[in-house]
Symmetry: D2
Subunit: 88 residues, 4 copies
């Protein structure tokens, strides 16, 4: 993983762990379900944002190198497999 | 929140925190990006599953009671707001 | 289906058919793939919007009546099945 | 667009137009809302499948060529913009 992507990803994960812990405290304190759900939606959005950064880094490093090195079929089929898993 | 939903939600959150920590370790160990992304997709799926349980409990408690108590407009508009936030 | 929801849904479907036909013409004219994809994303968003209207009507009619008529278990399990199909 | 992708896309769009027309007939015939929604979900899934084919063709043609021709920054930023629009 590219260094700046890695640093950013670790910061986001640290924040996500805190966010998820906040959801746990809400549930323990019997918060209103719709309020809990709004927070879990926000956690999922934040994970999507993290994924966007990782994917962009992947395209700009492994995918671009793979295509230049004659491994287009491999890197594209990996991308399509990811896309498939993400939308399953 | 209904007691069994609350117990289940807390167990799921505990598992999710561990899963997210596993993602952090993968990134620190410079795992291959597509492998990291497959794990973050799995975390998001697990959060969706948690949301399904919370939503079901909410429909069977607050929403059903609200409709029987003449507060249909309020509980339905809350549901639609949630739906909107989830799909934004 | 409630009358105003039905009218609205038919108008939206009519518009959607035209939008989808526009996508077909773009593909026939060899439009740039990202431009085609932006249009198919827009079509899917428009279908989601249609679904929101139908779901809201359903909650305000069949679901609310079902709960008042003692068929809570049935209408909630139908909703959860829908939710499951939508997120599959 | 690659020829085989174009042929496949036009076939899928033709089928989609018929599916959408079926949804219109269901609504006109006052079908049960959950049954209508299951069909609109299926239409959206089918559009997603079409998008997968178009995206794969795009990666294997314009994106791969762009990267080999020194336009990596342009093709990757276009992909990320698409990704962003899709998840908005």
């Amino acid at each position: 993983m590219l260094d700046d992507v890695k640093d950013d990803a670790l910061k986001r994960l640290n924040y996500l762990a805190g966010h998820l812990d906040g959801v746990r405290r809400m549930i323990e304190a019997d918060a209103y379900c719709p309020d809990v759900l709004k927070q879990t939606y926000a956690v999922r959005k934040a994970i999507s944002k993290l994924e966007t950064r990782i994917l962009e880094g992947h395209l700009n490093s492994c995918v671009a190198e793979g295509i230049r090195d004659g491994r287009q079929e491999q890197v594209v089929s990996e991308l399509m497999e990811l896309y498939d898993v993400a939308n399953r």
